[in-house]
């Protein structure tokens, strides 16, 4: 591959990174906290490409890569077309419940039980699905007990009953795990009528001590209201 094409691809990778950062598409692939680093990376790559391009134009074709002992080594640079196409044109969707990924399982053992920090004040504070699972299993302070909370997630079918799911991502989509809680109570039927993978905001209280199996708990949320919503900006918890 010629030096000009390498520079073009370098520029395109930088532009693709900037595009997924600006449009928010990056939250489908990595944690939202990576945003400033993505801008920085895009800046570095674009500057590197422009320095090389402008330098070449000014200096004529002085530095031809085929003459510095590389031979065919840079043919692999063509592969960089793949991420450019994936990030700019294909933009694969966020993970969906059908994806085969491991589940979050919150183990409840005496060793792990500890007091969790209290939930934020307010009528129904927002708690993420994985956080509900962990608190239900390991919180010795009982911060969820009798407390009305708001949980955002998507509907999932669970043998005729309805679950609330959300993917938990720690680094990137490759380490995603599916967190789910059961829905019950007056508003659960309403959620059950929605098609699978509908984003909803559910208000309710977690039933105390609702064990499902012996070591891993899937808590049940006694839902009092279910509101259909747009997919949130950060699709992963």
């Amino acid at each position: 591959m010629s030096r000009e094409s390498e520079n073009t691809l370098l520029l395109l990778i930088g532009v693709a990174t900037a595009m997924i950062a600006v449009t928010g598409i990056f939250t489908r692939y990595v944690k939202a906290a990576l945003l400033p680093w993505l801008y920085l990376t895009a800046g570095v790559l674009i500057v590197l490409a422009l320095v090389a391009i402008i330098g070449d134009i000014r200096g004529g074709a002085a530095s031809d890569p085929d003459h510095d002992g590389h031979g065919h080594s840079n043919r692999a640079a063509w592969l960089l077309v793949v991420p450019v196409v994936v990030l700019i044109f294909l933009t694969p969707p966020p993970l969906r419940p059908q994806a085969s990924v491991p589940s979050v399982s919150a183990v409840s053992t005496e060793a792990l039980r500890r007091p969790f920090p209290p939930l934020p004040a307010g009528r129904a504070p927002e708690v993420s699905v994985p956080d509900v699972m962990i608190r239900a299993a390991q919180d010795s302070a009982g911060t969820l007990d009798g407390r009305l909370i708001t949980v955002t997630g998507f509907t999932m079918d669970d043998d005729g009953k309805v679950d609330l799911g959300r993917f938990s991502v720690l680094c990137c989509a490759a380490d995603a795990r599916l967190a789910r809680i059961h829905l019950d109570g007056p508003a659960a039927a309403e959620a059950g009528r929605l098609p699978e993978y509908t984003w909803v905001r559910v208000e309710g209280t977690v039933l105390p001590g609702a064990a499902d199996g012996d070591s891993s708990l899937i808590p049940t949320l006694e839902a009092v209201s279910v509101t259909e919503i747009e997919a949130p900006e950060n699709v992963y918890a």
């Binding site: 010629s2 692939y29 002085a62 640079a77 085969s100």
Partner: protein
């Protein structure tokens, strides 16, 4: 790359050939822009394709900032620190140099993608080569970010953190010493570009080095990320669940999964923590093998050091990391639960 080469234009009309591939890229972009909608819906309609696409994009995008950090550091190293100076800083005895390099791995915050190009720049004759490889293996596993995320992922189990750091350091040191003893410089077939001519300004030399290292590492990252994404979709979930209680089989499968899944070393602790059906030892193996060698690192090593190097160094790292992690795990964590 900045090598100013006056004979460069002596070929017959090289400019036409060179602009041709730019036109190919431009044509590809236009074609994908036109087909984008159709392709997007094909991907969206297939769960396997969209999961693979998302995982690929996840690994690639996650690695980019670390790769950028790595190539910026390696370019700074190339411009400001000559190999002579680096070897003057390091102890002369290979064993002492390897130990120093292993300890300094704690100073590079980031995951494994950045450390491969950096190690290539540090690489040199004798003790320096062993030290660079030790640094490459140690840095992703024992830096502060990884240690903290392991502490958070395994609350109340500090022995897991200690075992991870200890086994990773030991793996890096063993591989460094092994290179000092058996490694052959001729396996490193990929040559670095000639250093910039003396009259090139430093910032220009810096930009050229960073550009070269990024292109080399990123193109092989594409192969690794694509392979990992494909295997993500193809390795069925029950593999994880059928392994409870079988120590040796569990160790082997987790070691292979660490290679196949190619997770970022900053996040792999959480994945290991979530596999609660497995005993701690196989999960430790997962955490020690993954940052040292996985499918994307193998591809990047082949691209940056050379294939002859990667096909020897990667399997050796895999075996050493698996054995060391198992032994450390059994000693520190106990054999079974």
């Amino acid at each position: 790359m900045a090598a100013v080469n006056p004979e460069a234009d002596s070929h017959t009309d090289p400019r036409r050939i060179r602009t041709l591939s730019v036109w190919v890229i431009a044509a590809l972009m236009v074609a994908f822009a036109l087909l984008g909608g159709t392709l997007r819906s094909v991907v969206y309609d297939s769960t396997a394709l969209s999961t693979a696409g998302t995982v690929f994009a996840g690994i690639f995008v996650q690695a980019l900032p670390f790769l950028a950090l790595g190539v910026v550091l390696s370019a700074l190293l190339a411009v400001f620190v000559t190999p002579d100076r680096l070897s003057r800083w390091l102890p002369n005895r290979p064993s002492a140099a390897v130990l120093t390099a292993a300890a300094s791995g704690a100073a590079l915050p980031g995951c494994e993608c950045g450390s491969v190009p950096l190690a290539r720049r540090m690489f040199g004759e004798g003790a320096l080569g062993a030290a660079a490889l030790t640094f490459m293996l140690a840095a992703p596993a024992i830096n502060p970010i990884v240690v903290v995320s392991t502490v958070v992922a395994f609350p109340g189990q500090p022995q897991m953190v200690g075992a991870r750091v200890g086994a990773s350091l030991l793996t890096a040191i063993i591989m460094g010493l092994a290179w000092a003893k058996w490694g052959r410089p001729e396996w490193i077939t990929r040559r670095l570009p000639k250093p910039a001519a003396n009259d090139t300004p430093r910032w220009r030399a810096f930009a050229e080095t960073a550009r070269h290292d990024f292109l080399a590492a990123a193109s092989y990252l594409v192969i690794g990320a694509a392979a990992a994404a494909a295997l993500h979709v193809l390795v069925p979930q029950w593999v994880f669940e059928k392994l409870a209680g079988q120590l040796l089989l569990g160790v082997l499968v987790m070691a292979i999964l660490a290679v196949v899944l190619a997770l970022c070393s900053e996040g792999d602790a959480f994945v290991a923590a979530s596999l609660t059906m497995l005993p701690l030892v196989p999960r430790l193996v997962f955490l020690v093998v993954g940052p040292a060698i996985d499918i994307k690192l193998f591809a990047m090593q082949a691209g940056i050091f050379g294939r002859a190097f990667a096909i020897r160094f990667a399997p050796a790292t895999f075996v050493v990391a698996t054995v060391v992690a198992t032994v450390v795990g059994v000693l520190v964590l106990g054999g079974g639960a």
